[in-house]
Symmetry: C2
Subunit: 361 residues, 2 copies
């Protein structure tokens, strides 16, 4: 994450992982989620926070989820319905489950099928926020496979190349792959210039946003550095930003995501039908294609080659997707996770009101 | 394709599809490729040219292939070896075949397996240039499936975010999906700002290249509009261009491509081992996930919604990936394909020397 998105030193409260996990599980249980599923749901947010993906951790998400459970737009006790199933595929109606609720289960279905048949995918519809895709892709990598995940929730946020009105959401995508001694590859990005959550994060910490990240309400790209516009006063731009700089590439990726998450799942076109859309979870069994031990050695050689590339002038080192996340995770397991004090205040006041056990200091 | 990359009006020679196809097949047969395989190989280049993807048609590619057949770095009569096979996966050593030689066969294997088992993928190694990935993804769409293809040939061309030296190639990716009445979705891009072939194309037609497309030999991005540098005097940049504009997203996509094409195929890390790398072909059977007729209706609704979006100021209309390609194909079937006169001269002189039947005028 860019330096500007980090919580400023003076506003940080470091919280031990198990404390924030317990509080998060408690809040989900309080909202009706069964204990096991509260634990697997909370794990998604906590791992995101551990890996430095604060935009998809508890800070931005939990308040929203609690509101959605309160309004009954989310179902805390869903009954997942398997609509179609083959040896390698499954289509699931999530019955209004939060994405982090159905996601870990659905990804494990894909992994189990891939173990047996070489590769597999699970398409999910009628589900809420997934909190990014990296967590699910990493589930496969942790089980010795290549993982892939996408989600197309939240249409009408991002302006297509040449367009004046938004069509799709941020439509994030992720892939992960294991190595042997090097930290695993974990690539997890929105197909927009930035995730929408990052605009909120910038607002909270008083940071500017870069040229070419958003448009005004006529779809004109804002091409200077500005303070984050208020919610409702901007649209997002796809990866690339402008046509000259290749926004049709980010736009095409987002459309691929929309087609696979919403049309292949049978949900229907997000921009047309609105509502909560689809997710997609896929796993490739490495052993089905090649020798897993050679694969891991080759991954180490590749990733070592990359980190050994001399940095360009003004930069410290060359990274690859997943390296910094792995370093953050190791460090935060020791130091705790740095949250904005305002986030911790929300936890404490919510837990006090709801009489949830919560000890974050 | 950006207007600047089109062949200037005064340099165009329009050639009927079947004439350029016959000449291309003749040249491949002359180089030892068996007739059936010369036909399926030529089809890749001709369809690219028909769809307006001149950067991956006969103009840039055929001379190079002829040289590689001449030097015996390509095998005109390869014996494809299936190294591993499961119900849904296959790993193939292409025995030095040109990518357009093994590609149509490998993609059809993936499609056939997906028809039976829901989804499937074929990893190929030891193969030459694939001529982009769109053709192969479209093979699946034409057979009512979602297609996906990647290739990681040609390492050490593109500088990673923060780096000073190139690591990967242009690592293109493609997905395609059918609709009912709307032209199919066909998304086919390099994970660099532009395909390397486009720099050559710009050089041939005397066009400039945009800021943030390439770096100098220290890996510093060239941030003004310049004439295309000579081969060997520049490196490419990943989608996004600079870190602030999200080059880590293009870089991550390229690395995903490298891992799946080269490590999963068992070839080994392209930047380390060099040589010709791997391709990846995947198909999803729509019917395994949902009702294909509903899928096609949903695709039409989605794509119609997009083309109905009002354009931003200064633009004519909103496109989606595959729409312009489809329009170009329909038009060029009637008008012939516009080639640069210099390309036609090469064909005529090569055919004359090699005594190949060639009637392009």
């Amino acid at each position: 994450m860019l330096e500007r998105f980090k919580v400023p030193e003076q506003d940080r409260v470091y919280v031990a992982v198990e404390r924030i996990r317990a509080a998060t599980e408690g809040i989900l249980r309080h909202n009706g989620v069964p204990a096991d599923e509260a634990a697997s749901s909370a794990d998604v947010l906590i791992k995101n926070d551990l890996r430095g993906v604060e935009s998809h951790g508890v800070s931005n998400s939990l308040r929203r989820y609690v509101a959605e459970y309160g309004e009954k737009t989310l179902n805390a006790t869903p009954n997942f319905k398997i609509e179609r199933e083959t040896k390698t595929t499954m289509t699931v109606d999530a019955d209004g489950a939060l994405g982090i609720h159905v996601g870990p289960w659905a990804m494990q279905q894909a992994i189990d099928k891939a173990k047996e048949f070489g590769m597999a995918a699970v398409a999910v519809k009628n589900s809420g926020h997934l909190a990014g895709c990296g967590y699910y892709a990493m589930m496969a990598a942790e089980q010795g496979m290549i993982g892939h995940c996408m989600t197309a929730g939240g249409a009408n946020q991002t302006v297509p190349t040449f367009g004046s009105k938004p069509v799709m959401g941020t439509n994030p995508i992720a892939w992960a792959a294991p190595a042997r001694d090097m930290p695993p590859f974990l690539f997890d990005v929105a197909t927009t210039q930035v995730a929408n959550n990052k605009i909120g994060l910038a607002r909270r910490i008083g940071a500017n946003i870069e040229p070419g990240w958003v448009t005004d309400l006529d779809g004109e790209p804002i091409l200077e550095e500005v303070a984050p516009p208020d919610t409702g006063d901007y649209y997002l731009l796809h990866i690339g930003g402008t046509r000259e700089n290749g926004s049709h590439k980010g736009y095409g990726l987002a459309l691929m995501n929309e087609i696979i998450c919403n049309e292949l799942s049978g949900y229907g076109p997000g921009p047309v039908v609105g509502g909560s859309g689809g997710h997609f979870f896929q796993a490739y069994d490495i052993e089905a294609f090649t020798d897993t031990e050679k694969f891991k050695d080759d991954m180490d050689a590749l990733l070592q080659y990359i980190v050994d590339v001399p940095p360009a002038k003004g930069f410290e080192r060359v990274l690859y997707a997943g390296l910094k996340e792995n370093e953050d995770e190791k460090e935060r397991m020791k130091t705790g996770i740095p949250y904005h004090k305002e986030v911790i205040q929300w936890f404490e006041s919510y837990c006090a009101e709801a009489d949830i056990d919560c000890d974050l200091r």
